[in-house]
Symmetry: D2
Subunit: 339 residues, 4 copies
């Protein structure tokens, strides 16, 4: 962390700051210029809240040079982490294809789609029981009944399941779920993150619509800081001025995240684009850029999906796409590549 | 709602759609063009999830012309709503100045600031007990102890209090709080919104960093739909590409909201700018543009605030600002003005 | 400027960097930490292109602490600049109301509006002869004929005129124009900026739709660097995710610019909102926040304006607004205010 | 185009509108609802400026359903266009790799890089002679001398060349250039676009930092409308709130553009990310998503590049990347693919 002091700063306040930093085991490098005096802080600066220093009268500016996350930071954990979802690994060289409907609508629907995506190559089943919807008048999911149907689909197909939690108080209902998803709107629901940090289950953490990559890593850090290090990050599109797509899928987040963290990174091209016809090219782009998996909406009857219909693939298209993904996976960019 | 059908659409699917709409009491106006066939849907279209229609094979595009919110909509409630906070009214011609520290730090601090802001002209006291922070390593608030100190400050000064809730399960602790704040990061925490909809207390609902004005109104609708119509909306800055300010304070949201909804609208220039020196001009701008109140951070020792220090005013500056706000309030733009 | 070197940097490359910097009269403060070595560069760092240093193998990061603009920087020119438009001053305590139609449509139209806005209180006339339009099929302005009509309106009313230039090669046609406007889309048309820097006329420089405040100042610096220091900056809305307004008018740009530069700052609430009903509250907000003037579209028959109709005021509304602006001007926030 | 009239609209104004539309050969479908009256306009609505209709008192809203571009529209030109650059084709199934330095610095530099990129697999040489820089104090390019050196490199290697134009008045200097680039900041420099529309040379049109896909197509339409239909579109990153990358490279723009237009689409991962280590994965992602080519910065000594150094590849990395691109090209997503 670098602290720039104002010209003609008060010496007494300066000595207070020095004492406070030393008490936190921070060493200080002092560089006196004509226009500015600069302090270089050395030590574990993650424990320092920069806004506290910024607030001092004598301080002109504070800038971090060290990332404010530790447990998620690749600098302190060089090898790729692998997250185990009921025996299946995500990360390292392990790629998983997660597919299923946006919402669980009925037993018949979820069982049918589960079988179809399994045959087509999916290795994990997704499906929404609790649905965050912008409007209170839109379909909110089958809730507990939806979870029950997901478990049934898991039993029938053997596929591990992932589904979204919307409130910390629901955690008991997720006992038999294999991976718990935190949706984009809850990426900074810190109470939920802390609750998941105390659970012994993989967490699929989606990037918020307007959250930076660093904020995503800070949210992972919240979970890890409570003890749960089984986190899979998910890029799912960010909010920009462009309206041709529902969100702008930030594929560059994959290599950026891969360089900053050891956690696995997957991509959701369905929410990331909002249009079924854009899912295949973007799924392929994410794969080749080095993603550790994909999260794809599939519906046996997209025209009747109770939510997010326009972005769901038919099982036929999903099958072709899965085949294509398989063909290109071996060519994917890897962090160690001499490029 | 307007539905554009694809050229050469399937007649059977079309009849299914017509039947489904009619079952929902929607009347259909049919307009046949050469390139496009257009259906105008008339009736209560808030009950229709446009993505369901969009998902149909025969549909090219769906557009709402009616707003998807009802209870918050000024079209169905022409007069300004007034929200009563322990006898003080917000809305209509009633303007309230809400002030206090970002975080409650100690009994001494909150009592001292409470008295100072009251003397300076504040009518409601704010202070954070539960603090949403991007980093798990930053100060998270005094929590229950903080609420206890707020109640003490209320008792001593007689000022009503407003403080932030971070999780639905905490609701019991807020029994004696006069107005409950939903922070920007929780604007789409739908479980929390529903919980607050079943409480008989005013809610201060902040706009999310990347949420549209319509989404803010939909979140208000979630609360109102459960029965609680005492909602004050708060503009607090949105996330843009500009980095000179922490957020871009969208003052135009005030007149836009005033035309769309009957709910009161206040502005938080402290979070909206992130810099103490920008708070006075932006507080004045919000007032003159027609806001029903301001939410301002004040700290008796900004240099030692445990969070958000750089944006807090000293009590002296707050006092001068309160005086200035009082002078200009009478000139503020009002919806009925012949301008 | 601060340069952070990589751990274990190459000594020879380091000596090359030091020599290169010294040749540019830059002094170097050296601060050796355990994790990082930091160089503080002291002197006129505006002459250093940071990307050159960033590109070096031995460099981890480069950050400016000094603003990259000199002539526009308030640090080197403490008092407000005043720009003289044919005897009228903008800046300091001088406020000007600039009004007129979006496009000049006919002699009758421009003369009629010119008289109406003058009576209503406008002090400078605006009107577009060359119109930048997104579509080649939309009205492109009357061009030279439009300029001729503007000059006629100037002659008849005595109002100084401001109008937009779209290409450097048109400069000869603007000989009798009193202030030349650079539109938002041309804010980084550097050839145009340089041409205007060699002209002895005030320039009204609009902020680009997606340009930061610093980039706006760098564009002013382009003009000033060629010799013309008569620049008025104009905030006119930036592009964000919000769609309820055509742009998001960044009122906070006024106090931010006022602190960074000595140049006058005005606001265009017409383009900044895109809706006539939002112009009065936003014009008032800009004024109270300390703007040195307003740029407002007025049309005697808004329903038939050839472009940008929805955001034009009628002369009646403009007159009421001008009166209101006059009433509140005296209360406006000023940089020296003890708030 | 759909026009929604206000409730209780004035009949006379309505008849005026009808007459005006009929004079433009537009037919009108009339749909009378209880809340709204809707007009469906049928015919060539590109000639109608929607803001003119929006400005009418009787109109509530106007929405386009037909795209406002014709010549660039795939609806009227189903097959892919191919652009010929001195015998090399871009588009259809033809992929070109364009590479070279950001700026031309010296004869030695450009000749060396030209040979290196040709050997590595580049088919077209890029290099900047006129450089748009945010700061007037940064390197502005070698200008005419730079063009001369580019032509020399073309002569020596036989590679066609592409270089950026910054002002319409420079067009004579580009006589021997094979493809003229319009930079992101000039995407809406309409005078420049019109000038290029009257030239018989391919144009490489880059998307502006804050421009929508539709605006990019409208800018192409400006050029095409003057007669020049040889346009290659280029996605190069858009401006968002994320700061981990210099821009957010919008890979989804590739399939979106491919569905909307017949023009070829290439991607610039160098400017799109701003970091050399992100160029390979993003170049691969763009290729697999169906781009018709890549524009990549290569420098034989990135540490001394006079501009944009941090995003340039070394020739060695470029060579490996070119090989990788070749391997995956055959798997790329194509519009006709049954996915």
């Amino acid at each position: 962390m670098i602290v720039m002091l104002k010209k003609g700063y008060d010496e007494e306040q300066f000595q207070d700051l020095v004492a406070w930093l030393k008490a936190k085991d921070i060493r200080i490098h002092f560089s006196q210029g004509v226009e500015h005096t600069i302090l270089g802080l050395v030590g574990d600066t993650t424990v320092i809240d920069p806004s506290l220093i910024q607030a001092l009268d004598i301080v002109e500016d504070v800038r971090r040079i060290q990332e404010p996350y530790k447990k998620a930071n690749r600098k302190f954990h060089e090898e790729d982490s692998m997250v185990d979802v009921k025996g299946l690994k995500i990360g390292g060289e392990n790629f998983q294809l997660i597919a299923g409907p946006c919402s669980i609508e009925s037993e018949d629907q979820i069982l049918k789609i589960a079988r179809l995506v399994m045959e087509a190559g999916a290795t994990i089943l997704r499906g929404g029981a609790f649905k965050p919807r912008t409007s209170p008048y839109d379909f909110q999911g089958l809730k507990e009944e939806g979870l029950r149907l997901m478990l049934k689909a898991k039993e029938e197909t053997g596929l591990p399941i992932v589904t979204e939690i919307m409130d910390a108080s629901h955690i008991m209902m997720f006992e038999h779920v294999d991976m718990i998803q935190v949706g984009a709107r809850n990426m900074q629901n810190f109470e939920l993150l802390k609750t998941l940090g105390r659970v012994d289950k993989p967490v699929l953490l989606k990037r918020g619509l307007a959250n930076t990559i660093q904020e995503l890593l800070m949210s992972a850090e919240y979970i890890m800081n409570e003890g749960n290090e089984n986190i899979v990050l998910c890029e799912r599109g960010i909010r920009t001025f462009e309206t041709a797509t529902r969100n702008t899928l930030d594929i560059s987040a994959v290599p950026v995240l891969k360089s900053l963290t050891h956690l696995p990174v997957i991509v959701d091209p369905s929410h990331g684009t909002g249009s079924a016809h854009l899912v295949p090219p973007m799924a392929m782009a994410a794969t080749i850029a080095g993603a550790d998996g994909l999260l794809i909406e599939v519906h046996n009857d997209p025209a009747h999906a109770l939510c997010d219909g326009p972005q769901s693939l038919t099982p036929e298209v999903f099958q072709s796409l899965a085949k294509r993904i398989n063909e290109i996976k071996g060519f994917a960019f890897r962090r160690g590549d001499k490029l």
